[in-house]
């Protein structure tokens, strides 16, 4: 059991590329920390630095009060679950789990006890004699977890462990991982690019972008109060609508002086032709597409663009400029081509500075 602290951690490659540009956060003992971000944001590199598989070129990594910058991976008292599981193909499930313990010179019967215990927790008892090649994806995943837990390490590291599974199994394993972590109460760091996985697993969510931490906090806190437009669009699916305040059709009644962007989550809109609530926002939309998913309906509407309107450039996974996504409950929706008015209350507005790097209100 231990806490993990990263202090101004940096990673620069010999060719000058800076993958991690000074990351600082702390994971308390027993907490489940999730690093999330788009591919190439440095989250995996950071995890591998904690694991000792990548060198640290600046700052300190502290595991349980010991600075481990120069410590070999095997001596850091950590265990890692890899994306492709990295099971030893020629060893039985039992030996896969026992290998690390044998290398540490543990007594045979102690190994037996630990492996059997792990197998019981993960329901692998019937599979102990099989080779990884004879297992299904979910079973391999469990063996990889078993290999980590038999070590009884201070920290578990997970590198996108569910991304090789199909959607249904991924959800099942996600719950299993969370339950297991609660039960063992081991500090964990988990890397994923899936924001849903991140939201559901994390005690502490660290959103990364371009080698930096964008925001750290409780998942719901990040959802409700994203610090930057990056976090706003990354956390929550579908992403938050971002609209430039320089557009002539959008005005904030009580806008701060340097406010530049207003964001509204699709679920915070409702369709109304009534009067605008105090300080709220209304947008006129032409319906372009409708998606019905049963319990709710998504309306893709195009904002009437007036002259000189500047749209916020769309990133992959975001809406194209001028398009606004509205989520309404139920299955009834306006017809395509209809004009609608989407309204959001004042307390549902997220106001950011023009460069999107700073949250201004609320």
């Amino acid at each position: 059991m231990a806490n993990v602290a990263l202090r101004n951690v940096r990673k620069a490659y010999p060719n000058g590329f800076e993958a991690i540009k000074g990351v600082e956060f702390e994971v308390e003992d027993g907490q489940f920390c999730v690093l999330v971000g788009p591919s190439g944001c440095g989250k995996s590199t950071l995890l591998r630095m904690v694991a000792g598989l990548e060198t640290i070129t600046g700052g300190d990594i502290d595991i349980g009060g010991r600075i481990v910058n120069q410590v070999e991976p095997a001596d850091r008292d950590i265990a890692m679950v890899f994306q492709n599981y990295a099971l030893y193909p020629h060893m039985s499930v039992y030996n896969n789990m026992a290998y690390g313990l044998r290398n540490r010179g543990m007594a045979k019967d102690a190994i037996e006890t630990r492996v059997q215990e792990a197998a019981r927790i993960l329901e692998l008892n019937a599979l102990l004699d099989r080779k990884p090649g004879q297992l299904s994806g979910g079973q391999r995943q469990r063996v990889a977890m078993g290999r980590a837990i038999v070590r009884q390490p201070k920290v578990f590291l997970f590198d996108e462990p569910l991304s090789n599974l199909d959607a249904k199994l991924r959800i099942a394993m996600r719950v299993e991982i969370r339950k297991l972590q609660r039960r063992l109460n081991t500090t964990s760091i988990y890397v994923t690019h899936d924001q849903l996985e991140a939201m559901t697993l994390a005690d502490v969510l660290v959103v990364m972008n371009g080698g930096r931490v964008e925001q750290i906090g409780n998942p719901l806190e990040l959802y409700e109060k994203p610090a930057t437009t990056f976090v706003a669009t990354f956390i929550g699916a579908p992403p938050m609508n971002l609209m430039s305040l320089t557009d002539s059709d959008i005005r904030l009644p009580s806008g701060a002086a340097d406010a530049g962007i207003v964001g509204v989550r699709p679920e915070d809109f409702h369709l109304s032709n009534g009067s605008l609530p105090e300080g709220g926002l209304a947008v006129e939309l032409t319906v372009e597409a409708i998606e019905r998913v049963g319990a709710e309906t998504y309306i893709y509407g195009m904002r009437a663009q007036k002259t000189g309107a500047t749209a916020i450039s769309a990133k992959p996974g975001e809406l194209p400029p001028g398009e606004v996504l509205v989520r309404i409950p139920g299955q009834s929706a306006p017809a395509i081509g209809a004009r609608i008015r989407a309204v959001a209350a004042r307390d549902k507005l997220h106001v950011f500075s023009a460069d999107g790097r700073q949250r201004i209100a609320p």
């Binding site: 991976p73 095997a74 890899f82 990295a86 030893y88 690390g100 090649g133 290999r147």
Partner: protein, 282 residues
């Protein structure tokens, strides 16, 4: 593609059967020849059915030899050949797997240069460098010894290349998982890499054993002692008789005996051999 053309299938089969006959007939002739006595063979009217001297000929060949030419029974030649072929195959595998391990999994200065130097030696088989190699072997007093037969032949660029290609398909996470499990480079090599390379090793062993078994020029140069003759050289000596009747039956028997070990190796290791060439267990 499903085809049901009767004559379309017939022609390829005929061609293949002719091919098989061309390869198999001389072998058959050697086997038949080894069962007749020398007079029958030498008068040019050797029948195409087995004779009655088979057991006698093979016994003579293996145990006592021809006396006149090789002064050594073929049995001991077989042993010499076996030592050389196994030595070369094992030596080549051992050296190349270690060098491939170094080139793939470790980063050291001039790593790729090293690899290319190894690669370039593909162009320098023994035949090309035979005089300098002989000089070195002679200076190191390796003449007339098994070390002399084996050592100069065991550096292998082909095997290194093959192992390198295989090692590069091993996911780096496996190396990292080993590191996490507290296995150092030597443990990783023996516990993980070697077991995973088993099919490749088997495939290479087959190829290299046959390569070693068929060596002619190098053993001819490096050994002069009768008791170190390899069987391939023995065949040549048995046939090459001056002013006397060639002991054709013994020559044929020797040829048949020389074929048996490579055939045995191929048959025994065929499944591993094919597996090693076409798939990698992962």
């Amino acid at each position: 593609m499903v085809e049901h053309r009767r004559f379309g299938n017939l022609l390829p089969h005929i061609v293949l059967l002719i091919g098989v006959a061309i390869v198999a007939f001389p072998v058959y002739l050697a086997v038949i020849g080894s069962t007749h006595n020398d007079v029958v063979i030498s008068n040019g009217q050797m029948p195409l059915y087995p004779g009655s001297h088979g057991i006698e000929t093979y016994w003579k060949t293996i145990v006592s030899g021809t006396g006149k030419t090789t002064r050594e029974p073929v049995g001991s030649m077989l042993i010499s050949s076996l030592i050389m072929a196994v030595g070369i195959a094992v030596g080549k595998i051992a050296i190349s797997i270690i060098s491939a391990y170094a080139v793939v999994f470790f980063s050291f200065p001039f790593r790729m240069t090293t690899f290319w130097i190894i690669f370039v030696t593909l162009m320098l088989p023994v035949e090309v460098r035979i005089f300098p190699t002989y000089k070195i072997a002679s200076d190191l007093h390796l003449l007339d010894s098994y070390s002399g037969l084996i050592l100069p032949l065991i550096a292998s660029a082909t095997a290194t290349l093959l192992f390198r290609q295989f090692f590069m398909t091993i996911p780096k996470e496996l190396v990292e998982a080993s590191k996490m499990d507290g296995a150092g480079p030597i443990r990783f090599f023996f516990d993980t890499l070697l077991p995973l390379s088993m099919t490749n090793i088997a495939a290479l062993f087959v190829i290299l054993f046959i390569y070693g078994w068929n060596q002619y020029l190098w053993p001819l140069l490096i050994t002069t002692r009768d008791d170190m003759q390899t069987i391939v050289i023995g065949i040549k000596k048995i046939i090459d008789v001056k002013d006397a009747l060639t002991e054709w039956s013994v020559a044929m028997a020797t040829a048949v005996l020389a074929m048996l070990p490579p055939v045995a190796v191929v048959v025994l290791m065929q499944r591993l051999f094919v597996k090693g060439l076409i798939e990698t267990e992962k």
